[in-house]
């Protein structure tokens, strides 16, 4: 899909959502207002992540050559690629969808789809949230779950890559 086509589909998607809100506003204005308030509250929280993503995109444009990306995250990246995906996934913050623009750029520059899938899976492992998770589920459970998820993230990345190779 070309960039302009992706952008156009995104505008249609946004247009559909705005239309749904307008219809909802006509049918049930209080629910529409509550939904808008919820949306604004999410927006307030994600703006700092917007800035981080834009900064990372700019850094990547300025300093990272496509050849470097291919070396570390491309087809022959080996264990290095998986380790980078795991660490980057764990330290990244904010909602998952905010990372799609950056991942889209990486994908276009030859990053393996398996590595992108592993990155996305590891976004589930958040060190900052571990204390809260321990509070609810106990330290043994959280330690085991975290380790299992890191290993499964690589298995999932590998499987996604293999399935994408299958011609339908």
């Amino acid at each position: 899909m070309r960039r302009s086509e992706k952008s156009r589909i995104g505008i249609y998607f946004l247009g559909t959502m705005v239309t749904i809100y307008i219809i909802l506003g006509l049918l049930n204005s209080s629910l529409a207002i509550k939904a808008l308030q919820a949306t604004l509250s999410i927006l307030k929280k994600v703006v700092p992540v917007f800035i981080v993503v834009i900064a990372l995109l700019a850094i990547m444009n300025k300093f990272v050559r496509p050849q470097t990306l291919t070396k570390y995250l491309g087809k022959n990246s080996g264990a290095k690629g998986w380790i980078i995906a795991i660490i980057a996934g764990i330290i990244s913050s904010g909602p998952i969808y905010l990372w799609y623009p950056l991942l889209n750029e990486l994908q276009k520059h030859g990053t393996r789809n398996g590595i992108i899938a592993t990155f996305l899976y590891n976004r589930a492992v958040k060190p900052a949230l571990l204390p809260l998770m321990i509070f609810y589920f106990g330290i043994k459970f959280v330690a085991v779950l975290t380790v299992v998820m890191v290993f499964v993230s690589v298995a999932q990345g590998w499987l996604v890559e293999k399935l994408l190779e299958v011609k339908l």
Binding site: I9, A38, A124, M133, M149, V160
Partner: protein, 135 residues
């Protein structure tokens, strides 16, 4: 400066998709309060792990919400396997974000990634609970 302008352009191109997802998440949050889902479990661990993964896949929001809901589910007698599959699917499967993921990363990639993440959420739950009981 050129790098920043290019970054802003790239981000600007994806902004409508991201805003669309945020509007969808806001609507789902208000229209379907998460608490109503805690009463959907059958108390059969195997069926419940499927229900847990399915609920986790369609609900969205901060992972903290899934911990709170998961904690409540445990108190109500829902099995640990079901609760684990619920909190894992909550963060790894994104039905609400699927349109954005398909637009930006490819339809086939988005479908395969979410479908495998759904299956892995059940597997992760089974392995985790088995290991927790064994250690």
């Amino acid at each position: 400066m050129e790098a920043l302008i290019k970054a802003l352009k790239t981000f600007g191109n994806t902004l409508p998709t991201i805003l669309g997802v945020i509007l969808l998440v806001g609507l789902i949050k208000v229209a379907l309060p998460s608490s109503i889902f805690t009463h959907m479990f059958s108390f059969n661990p195997f069926i419940d792990s499927l229900i847990g993964s399915a609920l986790g896949s369609v609900l969205a929001g901060n992972p903290v919400t899934s911990y709170i809901l998961g904690g409540e589910m445990l108190k109500q007698g829902v099995s640990l396997i079901a609760v684990t599959s619920f909190i894992v699917a909550w963060v790894t499967v994104g039905i609400i974000q699927l349109p954005a993921e398909a637009i930006l990363l490819g339809k086939k990639f988005a479908i395969i990634r979410n479908a495998t993440a759904f299956l892995f959420s059940i597997l992760v739950a089974i392995i985790t609970v088995f290991l927790v009981n064994a250690i």
